[in-house]
Symmetry: C2
Subunit: 413 residues, 2 copies
């Protein structure tokens, strides 16, 4: 008997009909002899409806404690309905909020992080024969305040629960049937990967392949939880996310990720002295603006330029913060561009192969796509380009690295 | 400085606009120098929407633990939105679920009763200067399961909180501006009462005057909590619910209550031996069917007839239970009628005045309204009549006891 954690996102539980369908899938798993924990999101549209109500009162960006009280109801509705659907089919099931399972988080409302989970409570219910239906995305802080993990946090809940009870597999059901070499809507020739390493997945997720939340992948890697991404709507093996050592043959490049949601902020001509980066980024972090890429060039004339990317929603706030900062530093100009995208090649194979970067830059140059920023890690190369070149850039790179279905053989490293 | 508990029902918080309006009323109270606790219901329509979702899965009567998990989200949405609306106006406010305030109930899902409340937590937040916005209708049992008090339970929450923190007044805001001599939709000449005793209110509520829940009134009486019923939409003093000794002049009859939601169940020809009533009502109670009026006539031929009324929704279930019971008892026939209503005269003044009953029966007889059952207490007389005579019966009695606006003077006792 295995212990399986399944997670169904908002589009998988978006109607009573779909909830009934999920109940069928859960029971099929249970009838194979497994213990099953099901983590669910709010019904699709529900979170937006609730945010809409809050916006009517507080304008664009209601934040803080009360938003979490509001949003956490979305998942609570789904757990009750799914538990009822299971019970109707004769399956012993019990719902559980984040609080009831002892999902303890820090007290950063709207963006809380899980600190610990009381796995014993969950184990007890499983051992009593129940399917446990858990509200994703939520927890409580040490004072019992309701917290949420931010959008997509249900994936993190699923992986964290899987880690807490040492589940054999954490299955993430979504509306795609696995992880692809790139977004099939942009490149129709994109191919589903049988497996992908945690490190690659981490890069893919953070770079905007929306299949899995980055926090979830980090958690999974840290606690050795095998994740499988599957489709709620189609049968199929999905994509297994593994540790590198499991993989025998490694392609050079696994996929191409991109992110449309970024904006670029630039500070020019600031005094080039130790600590200037911290001076610039400190106030940004204090405003809870998450920074992605950071590039600083070698300075000249005693000044330096400093560029970084943030979520597009944080662009205007970022500009204001930087202007304040420069007043304190004494010097420099603030600039930026909200119309940029990030494009990234990801692959553990590129570690041991030179020439990937130049092949990438050459392919883009041939199409006259100008590269604004470059940032590299061991298993990825990211470039920032103008937004209008996104689709062209993805297709050019997909072809240059022979990632398409007809090229599968050639790309093996 | 007084401590005021205010309760706003679903129609008072049925839209963002109305929630903003409630925020204004709360702040006006706060600015008069009072500490304020606000108890709210789900936005009107929300509970029905949630029940509808459950019904899609489980059919007519989904019950049990998961229904409470589902329904309790309705109030949780309202507390978050109202707290946001207060904060927007610069008023320090914090929302609280039933669990967060330590509202402990028994574990009778869907119909739980409050066992205790942690008043210290509420007091602490009030002393820190917060308006505390509390989700009505909900609590947790000793194992941390979410429970609900049944429809209208928000009134009970408000009164129980008022008792727990020894509030100076518990104000129930609703869509009517007080307690009337009878339903103004049935008798346009109905008059708002300045004050009414707890005992009368208890009878009025249980008999179907929907202004206040009976459990709430019981609680208020037990813990000496003064309640005032007011309109959310109009200014005015409402109706104060007092203890009898406060009332100087007492009218004979305060009002006429009625209940359309009842059905009559009859058992005929059962063996007339000790314990037979318990044998009949025991299984009814086990099925959680609440019984209202009970009438047993003196028997003859060693058998007796036994009639009682239940909520109309429980009529069919009641019939089935009775048929089962009679098989065990050995004898008797089951009958009933779902098309009956109960009409009641209520007034503490009738205690010391004979002749009220005969005046009532005479008035009804003059209109050829047949009386099926009669039941009396110290301060009320109830009759069961055919449903079609309801409006006629109310008007006849309202006139017979001179309860209308032009008769106010004459009726003083």
């Amino acid at each position: 008997m295995s212990l399986i954690v399944q997670k169904y996102g908002g589009t998988s539980v978006g109607s009573i009909e779909l909830i009934e369908r999920v109940a069928g899938k859960v029971i099929a798993t249970k009838e194979q002899g497994h213990q099953v924990v099901v983590v669910v999101s709010a019904m699709s549209g529900e979170t937006n409806r609730l945010v809409g109500l809050a916006n009517e009162i507080q304008g664009d960006a209601p934040r803080g404690r009360e938003l979490d009280v509001l949003l956490s109801t979305g998942e609570q509705v789904t757990i009750a309905l799914l538990a009822m659907a299971l019970q109707k089919r004769g399956c012993a099931a019990v719902s559980s909020t984040g609080r009831q399972l002892g999902i303890l988080t820090d007290n950063k409302f709207n963006k809380a992080r899980i600190k610990s989970i009381n796995g014993a409570r969950l184990k007890k219910s499983l051992d009593e024969g129940y399917v446990v239906v858990v509200a994703g995305f939520q927890g409580v802080d040490e004072e019992g305040n309701i917290t949420t993990l931010g959008r997509g946090g249900s994936d993190t809940t699923a992986v964290a629960l899987a880690a807490a009870v040492e589940a054999d597999e954490c299955q993430i059901y979504t509306d795609v049937d696995g992880v692809y070499t790139t977004d099939p809507r942009v490149e129709p020739n994109a191919r589903r990967l049988e497996r992908i390493t945690f490190e690659e997945m981490l890069e893919m997720a953070s770079l905007g392949s929306k299949v899995l939340q980055i926090r979830a992948v980090e958690f999974a890697g840290k606690y050795d939880v095998p994740i499988r991404v599957l489709s709620t709507f189609d049968e199929g093996p999905g994509t297994l996310i593994t540790f590198e050592e499991d993989v025998v043959e490694e392609p050079l490049v696994s996929g191409i990720a991109f992110n449309r949601d970024e904006a670029q902020l630039t500070v020019k001509g600031v005094p080039d002295r130790p600590g200037v980066a911290a001076h610039i980024l400190g106030p940004i972090a204090e405003e809870n603006i998450e920074v992605d890429m950071i590039v600083q060039n070698v300075g000249s004339d005693g000044t330096t330029d400093f560029t970084f990317t943030v979520h597009r929603n944080d662009y205007n706030k970022g500009l204001l913060v930087l202007e304040d900062t420069l007043k304190n530093i004494g010097g420099g100009q603030v600039g930026g561009d909200p119309h940029i995208v990030k494009l990234s090649l990801v692959g553990v194979g590129m570690r041991s192969h030179a020439g990937i970067a130049s092949r990438m830059f050459t392919a883009l140059a041939q199409e006259k796509i100008n590269i604004r920023m470059i940032s590299t890690s061991e298993i990825k190369i990211s470039v920032v380009i103008e937004e209008k070149y996104l689709e062209l850039g993805v297709r050019v790179l997909h072809e240059a690295f022979e990632l398409g279905q007809e090229n599968e053989e050639k790309n093996s490293g």
